[in-house]
Symmetry: C2
Subunit: 360 residues, 2 copies
């Protein structure tokens, strides 16, 4: 399927970034925005031309979620040969609205590039925004295969990894990993309003991380949240119950511990770099020699082995009163490090752990 | 006040890092830990000697919060000439326990270095951990001035900025900016348990940031939270009410918008780098010329002026149908940039904004 010419409607962060990526790949890109100054800036950044085409292969609707379905329906009618996609963060309600409009559903394939910023507008755009990011293509039973392929091609041209997913399942997933985290971040940030400046000065990296995305565009998020409200509502009910539970048991170390532990488990389940689960490492265990000099040598031998150390921990054997250094490495590097350490004269506990140690 | 010799009890991340900083400053540091392998590793990292001193100027208690008061009381009795401090994240309950024990309160000055990591143990220690970080010294009415001065000196030796604060006020502040954010992060992370792997693959940077500190040590946090439960409980009550409010109005764009907006306000109130509020910038406003080439020239002239641009935004004048580029810079740089831009031939709207524009 050839993708030669594209019309992008809406030149905010996402629309402009797509334009920059496609122009970089030699595609002809037309830009349109309700605010002509936005389109002008997008064009000056190299995202395309501010012209109205007579025909294009693909129309990308990159306007705010609340008006997306409306613009999609108009584009399907205005460009009867073109495939039409959109980039809104919620997919099922838009598909439903397009279906209800009676438009040519075969040419509509929604999508969702999972990239963005807590800032908005064309000035923050970047042609590399989608590289190695996930781009969900919301195929549906009425979509033409060639149109699905064209939208998948768009995502790949922008450097993204394609995930084909049903619209409802997408909406469930983004509620869990994006919309609800956004609400919790905003909830926490809202609680800082009215906190004394002398107290805010004690803020460290933790609260900054937790509240960073609370600075996101409130208008866009209002549209996202209200259109995905059913899935989000169910999630927030669970969260409210968990919050009330811990809140009414703050004097119980066991309840607080279980609550914190549950959080540790949740964050460890997030895929790490390259999709690897954060705990999928192999652990080499070396007894701590009873002299400071020996330990320094141990660290230097680990360095010299040239294997990337993912984590270092001390493990205690309370009965024998000895300690061990546990060295976590990628499973495929364990053998290499074990050989290097053995060659350097270190005794590894139990040869080394041949199983992946799942912590926590 | 001279600080020559120090005993550090507890060689986890904080104790070991203090030892490394003090050793680096030429102080004599003794280390003790319930787990001898921890003390051994700390010593091998250059944090001090694993020896028991007969006398020291200062004892630093860096053990878990739940046992801190107990160890402080023993240290006051064992080293009758020494000042004793601790590094626990909660201050009022410890002061109260030390007072109730009948110990020599004049020599006890609690403190709280506001630095750490979501990892723990001596292997994660670092002598630079406290540089430019806040270190709260919890002075109290019964403390000897010389002991307060010694603890302030400790913080400065480690490179930290000292904030003297009443214990209760400290506990209120850290509940607001540290303990409650920790709980909200753990709450959100706990909600990820049971989410399908195919959904977790859609996780982006946002949810990772929100949940990063949820990976912190659950044992230590249980002790912190239960000992500061009164202040935290009041905060969580407010949060639960706000959560319930937005949850039961997810179909109201106005309620959701106000909720998100409140979050934006909260995060903007956090002090930026160097303590500057994030919005305290001066904005230079340039009309967008009606040609792409002109805009590219504008950006290149801004670059050439050598002034750090904090933010760029497009502002729209809907009546006149023109757009403006708003360039945010540090107030003391505004005049310089304005002159450079005028010299380069650009017309600034209203000369330039002489007032600090407070956004949002």
């Amino acid at each position: 399927v050839a993708l030669r010419s594209v019309l992008i409607i809406g030149t905010g962060l996402i629309g402009t970034s797509i334009g920059m990526a496609l122009t970089g790949q030699g595609r002809k890109v037309y830009l349109r925005d309700r605010m002509s100054s936005n389109a002008l800036v997008a064009s000056s950044l190299g995202a395309g031309m501010v012209e109205t085409p007579t025909d294009v292969d693909l129309v990308i609707v990159a306007v705010p979620p609340a008006v997306t379905a409306h613009v999609v329906v108009r584009a399907l009618s205005r460009y009867p040969q073109a495939t039409v996609t959109d980039v809104a963060s919620v997919k099922a309600p838009i598909l439903e609205q397009v279906r209800l409009s009676g438009a040519d559903l075969g040419r509509y394939v929604g999508s969702h590039p999972m990239a963005g910023s807590h800032r908005s507008g064309p000035l923050t755009a970047n042609g590399d925004l989608f590289i190695d990011r996930t781009w969900v293509v919301a195929a549906h039973e009425d979509a033409d295969d060639s149109c699905v392929a064209l939208v998948e091609g768009l995502a790949r041209l922008c450097g993204a990894r394609v995930e084909v997913m049903d619209a409802r399942e997408h909406d469930q997933a983004v509620a869990e990993v994006s919309h609800v985290p956004q609400i919790m971040s905003s909830l926490m940030a809202g609680n800082l309003v009215g906190v004394r400046a002398s107290h805010l000065r004690l803020a460290g990296q933790g609260v900054r991380d937790v509240t960073r995305i609370a600075a996101s565009d409130e208008d866009m998020w209002t549209q996202i949240i209200t259109s995905n409200r059913d899935v989000i509502g169910t999630q927030l009910e669970k969260l409210a119950a968990a919050l009330n539970d811990v809140r009414s048991h703050l004097d119980s170390p066991q309840v607080v511990f279980d609550f914190m532990k549950h959080g540790v488990e949740g964050v460890r389940g997030l895929p790490g770099k390259h999709g690897r689960t954060q705990m999928d490492y192999m652990h080499l265990i070396v007894e701590i020699p009873d002299s400071p000099g020996a330990l320094a040598r141990l660290f230097s031998d680990v360095d010299a082995a040239g294997v990337n150390v993912e984590d270092l921990e001390i493990e205690h054997d309370r009965t024998r009163e000895v300690g061990y250094i546990s060295i976590a490495v990628q499973p495929e590097k364990a053998e290499e490090l074990a050989q290097a350490m053995t060659a350097a004269g270190w005794a590894l506990k139990d040869e080394y752990c041949t199983d992946i140690v799942r912590k926590g």
